[in-house]
């Protein structure tokens, strides 16, 4: 069971499809968590998870339609983004729009999501890949270089001062980025077996 039964965890209902998987992953660890798009519920959470799959354009449209942009930008508690959820934390994404256009994202971490430079490799980058570098950020406690995580994406955040873990597929990109209370993983911890669960547990117990 949860070591802190009073803790109030919330998954932001971005209208994307992997909400159930994220909720189940948290529940498998013995915690309870609420899925919500209610401004007050999200504001008052102790920890917030921002999940997402699909295109940045659709997800940002959902978030705007729900009136959640300012709420998410003003959060001061720890916030963890998964996959598209991580990408939404950046300033802009090139996914889901025409050439030379970008989608305005939440601007929580000042970097920009661009097509993954896979060189001759096949896209999407789909499957289990290793981390090539891991920082000492609290969510990576017990995680090492060469540990495998499940990735599914064609766009990525480049290496920057906000990179806290790296992966290589044709070129090196950010497997995770962080700034202040915000952290995002490009991979899917909820689908990355025991090590993915470890990251979720680290976050919830941070």
């Amino acid at each position: 069971m949860s070591e802190n039964p009073q803790a109030n965890f919330v998954i932001v209902d971005t209208g994307c499809a992997n909400l159930a998987s994220v909720k189940f992953a948290v529940e498998r660890l013995g915690f309870t968590i609420t899925i919500s798009d209610d401004i007050d519920v999200i504001k008052n959470a102790d920890k917030v998870i921002l999940p997402g799959v699909g295109s940045a354009r659709h997800a940002m449209e959902n978030i705007r339609a729900k009136g959640l942009v300012a709420t998410l930008q003003q959060l001061t508690q720890p916030v963890l983004g998964f996959c598209l959820g991580m990408q939404l934390m950046t300033r802009t994404s090139a996914e889901g729009v025409g050439k030379d256009e970008v989608v305005e994202c939440l601007g929580l971490i000042p970097t920009d999501v661009r097509p993954l430079e896979a060189k001759t490799l096949r896209l999407p980058h789909m499957g289990w890949n290793t981390l090539t570098q891991v920082s000492d950020h609290a969510i990576f406690t017990g995680i090492s270089v060469d540990d495998y995580f499940y990735f599914v994406h064609s766009f990525a955040a480049p290496i920057s001062e906000y990179t806290v873990a790296r992966c290589h597929y044709g070129s090196e990109f950010s497997a995770a980025i962080a700034k202040d209370n915000f952290i995002g993983c490009q991979f899917h911890p909820e689908r990355s077996s025991a090590l993915g669960s470890k990251i979720i547990k680290n976050f919830l117990e941070m």
Partner: protein, 262 residues
């Protein structure tokens, strides 16, 4: 390095896992949820659940088992069978599936691939292709041809598509992954169809998954080394415990195939 994927496939009929030989004579293997859990714990990289009756029966069957699987496993899984519309796909993905695979409905309405990719993202749209080598076709030179409704042998029929043309078409429409089921090899455990997979690989720029024919560990080594597929799907060798997951993965690693050990 990106690991090659080992993907147990669970054929589902009326809520039970079944296995047939060349799509016929289905026998019940067991309940879905404990089997899914067993494979995830054994180190499978991904699971595929094919509802083999859905397309041919022209119905969407009860899919509540999708949610029960999502609750217990912590690896990705894909659901196939009877997904004909955006609404069908949404329902399956909302229950916790990571990907959906379409086959006969994509042949009937190829634009479905594009519509699904646009809404849910290319990464979760898998196209399954059932391909059969007809020796008599092409003036006796033989040809790979696409079949549909393979879940029910009384309705299985050849389509107008040559396999290599269809592979290119589905990529153009936005498929994020292709599962190529080589029907001549299915269920007979004589090895993957390396020749056909190699031909398809040359035209396939999205992940390609081999299906049909796995019977022993060397078949997996061969398909990764010789056809450069991204994943290998198999059913009976796992259901009947002919191959142990840990031994398979260790052998692949020893053979210098990039693999996630468990």
């Amino acid at each position: 390095m990106l690991a090659k994927r080992i993907i147990p496939c669970l054929d589902v009929r009326d809520g039970k896992v079944v296995k047939g030989v060349q799509f016929r004579n289905h026998e019940i293997i067991g309940d879905i949820v404990p089997l899914a859990q067993k494979y995830a714990q054994a180190g499978a990289d991904e699971l595929v659940f094919y509802d083999i009756t859905a397309s041919s029966d022209d119905r969407v069957v009860d899919k509540s088992w999708v949610s029960r699987i999502a609750q217990v496993i912590d690896i990705p899984f894909c659901v196939a069978g009877g997904i004909k519309t955006e609404e069908d796909a949404k329902q399956i993905l909302m229950m916790g599936a990571d990907k959906i695979s379409i086959n006969s409905p994509a042949l009937r309405d190829p634009s479905l691939i594009s519509r699904l990719a646009d809404i849910f993202g290319q990464q979760c749209i898998v196209v399954g292709v059932d391909s059969f080598f007809n020796q008599d076709a092409n003036n006796g030179a033989g040809e790979y041809q696409v079949y549909q409704f393979t879940g029910d042998e009384t309705r299985t029929q050849k389509t107008k598509w040559r396999t290599l043309d269809w592979i290119q078409e589905v990529q153009r429409l936005g498929a994020g992954e292709i599962v190529l089921n080589c029907m001549n090899q299915d269920g007979v455990r004589q090895g993957y169809d390396i020749e056909q997979l190699s031909q398809v690989r040359k035209l396939c720029n999205v992940p390609l998954i081999a299906s049909g024919g796995a019977g022993e560990i060397s078949h997996f080594v061969d398909v990764f080394q010789q056809a450069d597929v991204d994943g290998a799907l198999a059913a009976s060798v796992f259901h009947k415990a002919i191959i142990a997951m840990d031994e398979l993965k260790q052998t692949l690693k020893n053979e210098k195939v990039e693999i996630r050990l468990c």
